[in-house]
């Protein structure tokens, strides 16, 4: 395979915050690859390290077999299109584009020819003498792209280039970018937080979260077969549910058993199940029906209707269909085996280290929790706290620890939250209560279901 860039064991921290952790990734020559993730996932940091504006703490970035680490940005054979264009305000359109060529001492007539050619490519032919500050956002972005590609880089880096444009302009530019990529035949590395943009443009998508690669694949792979609940939730709409693998090709969730196509998850093992809202079908035939539900709400979304239903077993599901069903009506539903995506659970409880303080208290994550253990004071223990044994309190001072709601996942009949404590540790919580991202909460443990064992056992 023809790899143009090969990233190996790349890590980067800012202070004590790990921004990227052990990134391994290769990029094929000529492909359109997108680094996709929410803000703060490390995608821009990764791009800036490829461009040379940041040095990695560890690891290598090989380009055509040569390590780029340590080579300053002006000597790297790649060019960047920046988020806010970064055109030079004191130069006109022509001089902005010719900037790189003049530095390389390209002859004047050659510069003229190349500038004209890229201006034509970005459909800005008559703008040569214009002051860049008089151009609209979309026009400035075209000039920024022209300024980068006129240097004929081997790889073009694009850092959320369309983020500052309005929706209509963004759609047009997406089409044009795709077309430019086809014409130029060079490798594009594209950074975005917009999943739809990533699905539209890319040959390959790299989903990043919290500094780690979650999944690498084609847009269809990523959409149809997300590897974990983060990817499923981030890419498109989805129903993410707790389930149990009954045996190979048979999974139970929302109180029913379904045939599926997944194997190798063991028997009676807890799993996460993802169902896309467009993959739940309505039927009138009794033999096809797998379960029934009551329609709770129905909203017209332009092409389709978006409905929320309560199943006969009390789970909430989102369904998208071309037909509307009246609110309050009972509907028969089924799901095809192909459309059920089974994922290994990333975790089944919070497993935390602790130290026994006395007969009634254990110190965990720096807080003293009232837990009876029966061990000697000073014993190092491992505490397993089920997700539903974590109690979140409105009043910060009522909790043993305090933290912030960091990530929310709706699981059909409850919420699965990631709560980050003030010291930066993560706790996972199942709750029926509604919290918002960023809420500050007090944290306590209910004693039921908590398992305590000696550390080395």
């Amino acid at each position: 395979m023809d790899k143009i860039i090969d990233i190996r064991h790349l890590s980067k921290s800012f202070g004590d915050k790990k921004v990227l952790e052990d990134i391994n990734l290769y990029i094929r020559r000529g492909e359109f690859i997108t680094l996709l993730g929410p803000s703060g996932c490390g995608k821009t940091t990764l791009l800036r390290m490829i461009a040379g504006f940041l040095a990695p703490d560890e690891g290598a970035i090989l380009m055509d077999g040569k390590d780029l680490v340590g080579i300053p940005p002006h000597e790297r054979p790649l060019n960047t299109v920046f988020q806010r264009y970064a055109l030079f305000p004191h130069l006109d359109v022509y001089d902005n584009i010719a900037f790189g060529l003049k530095l390389k001492k390209v002859p004047q007539d050659e510069i003229d020819k190349r500038v004209r050619k890229v201006l034509k490519l970005v459909a800005m032919s008559d703008y040569e003498d214009r002051d860049v500050e008089t151009l609209s956002g979309g026009q400035q972005q075209r000039i920024a792209i022209a300024r980068a590609i006129v240097n004929q880089p081997k790889v073009l880096l694009l850092d959320e280039p369309l983020a500052a444009l309005d929706l209509k302009m963004r759609k047009d530019m997406q089409t044009e970018l795709k077309e430019m990529h086809r014409k130029l035949g060079i490798t594009f590395i594209y950074v975005t937080h917009d999943q739809e943009e990533a699905l539209t443009l890319s040959d390959t998508i790299v989903v990043l979260n919290e500094g780690r690669i979650q999944q690498i694949g084609t847009p269809t792979d990523i959409y149809n077969e997300p590897v974990n609940s983060f990817v499923a939730d981030f890419i498109g709409e989805s129903n993410i549910l707790n389930g149990t693998m009954v045996r190979d090709r048979r999974v139970a969730f929302i109180g029913h058993e379904f045939d599926c196509v997944d194997e190798g998850f063991g028997e009676d093992n807890p799993v996460d199940v993802v169902i896309r809202p467009e993959d739940i079908y309505f039927t009138t035939e009794a033999e096809k029906t797998q379960f029934t539900a009551t329609v709770k709400s129905c909203t017209f979304k332009g092409v389709h209707y978006e409905m929320f239903v309560d199943t006969d077993t009390g789970n909430e599901l989102m369904i998208q269909d071309y037909d509307a069903y009246p609110v309050g009506s009972t509907v028969r539903l089924y799901i095809e085996p192909d459309d059920i995506q089974v994922m290994r659970k990333e975790r089944t409880d919070n497993t935390l280290p602790g130290t026994v303080k006395d007969a009634e208290t254990i110190e965990i994550l720096g807080g003293a929790f009232a837990l009876k253990s029966g061990f000697e004071p000073g014993t190092e223990v491992t505490v397993q706290v089920p997700f539903d044994a974590v109690d979140l309190l409105d009043n910060l001072d009522d909790g043993v620890l305090s933290g912030e709601v960091h990530f929310i996942l709706y699981k059909g009949d409850h919420y699965h939250l990631t709560v980050r404590t003030d010291d930066g540790d993560d706790l996972w919580v199942d709750t029926d209560d509604i919290w918002d991202k960023g809420d500050l909460v007090g944290i306590n443990f209910k004693s039921k279901g908590i398992k305590i064992r000696r550390k080395d056992e």
Binding site: A51, G52, F53, P72, P73, H74, N79, T80, F82, Q83, R84, Y85, A86, L87, F88, P89, H90, F99, G100, L103, K104, E133, T134, R147, A148, N151
Partner: protein, 268 residues
């Protein structure tokens, strides 16, 4: 009625502010030796000043020349130093940035007399023979913070990516500085230069303590000695009027320029 008082207030204020300047300008057109007595309209003092026919003319003209040369040198060097320092401070983060900004601000609020005396002691301690060089060094010391202060806002307004964009397009760091950063920061550097120039121009305390004993005089120290010898040289009156006019014209030019820049920004 309210409007009348508002207008009255502003006029009273303007009169108080400009009366001394008008006073000296008016009395520059009379030959009287003593300031305050009118002996008929005459341009003799201007004539004397411009042709150099007056008592002690050599030292007055030398003082003017020194003042301008020192101000130019100090303003030029502190513009360079201040711009580089501002870029450095801008790239610092968090607490260190705050600390260095504070360190930059302290010399500006420090009384001149303290700056002057401490520089004097420092030069004596280092066995620096005092003269031109020490005065220029001293002026650079108190001018640089003002340049930093006038370049900083330009850096903050600047798109942080344009320096990186230059590097990305193949510019070495020094090329990026010359071809992209300096043109962007030029308005701030120009106003920093002018600020430094005028600060240096009217400094007395620092110059007085750092000029040494070789008889170096700037305008301010010349006037000080002159006044102590008994009465100001009459030719100082037209000189002051001329300096005021030059500064006024400069100020108008700067304001018109700024206006034009602002208009451009609005058009964006």
């Amino acid at each position: 009625m309210k409007k009348f008082f508002a207008k009255l207030y502003i006029w009273v204020l303007l009169v108080i502010l400009y009366a001394p300047l008008v006073f000296i300008a008016v009395f520059s057109f009379t030959e009287s030796k003593v300031l305050g007595s009118w002996e008929g309209f005459s341009t003799t003092l201007y004539h004397n000043l411009l042709t150099g026919q007056m008592q002690g003319n050599a030292s007055l003209l030398a003082a003017v020349k020194n003042t301008v040369l020192i101000a130019l040198a100090a303003a030029f060097i502190s513009t360079l130093l201040g711009t580089v320092a501002a870029i450095g401070i801008h790239n610092l983060k968090g607490r260190r940035k705050k600390a260095v900004t504070l360190l930059n601000n302290i010399p500006m609020i420090n009384p001149d007399i303290i700056t002057g005396v401490s520089l004097f002691l420092l030069f004596v301690f280092l066995h620096f023979s005092q003269g031109y060089l020490t005065v220029i060094l001293a002026h650079i010391t108190f001018c640089t913070p003002y340049v930093v202060l006038s370049v900083m806002p330009k850096l903050q307004q600047m798109n942080p990516n344009i320096y990186e964009a230059a590097l990305d397009l193949g510019a070495t760091p020094s090329q990026a500085l010359r071809k992209v950063l300096v043109p962007e920061l030029k308005p701030g550097m120009v106003s920093g230069f002018i600020l430094a120039f005028t600060m240096s121009l009217d400094d007395f305390a620092v110059t007085f303590f750092t000029r040494g004993t070789i008889g170096l005089d700037t305008l301010s120290t010349y006037i000080y000695t002159d006044a102590r010898k008994g009465g100001l040289t009459p030719e100082l009156r037209p000189l002051m009027t001329l300096i005021f006019l030059i500064i006024l014209i400069l100020l108008v030019i700067i304001n018109v320029r700024q206006d034009r820049i602002n208009k451009q920004t609005v058009q964006r």
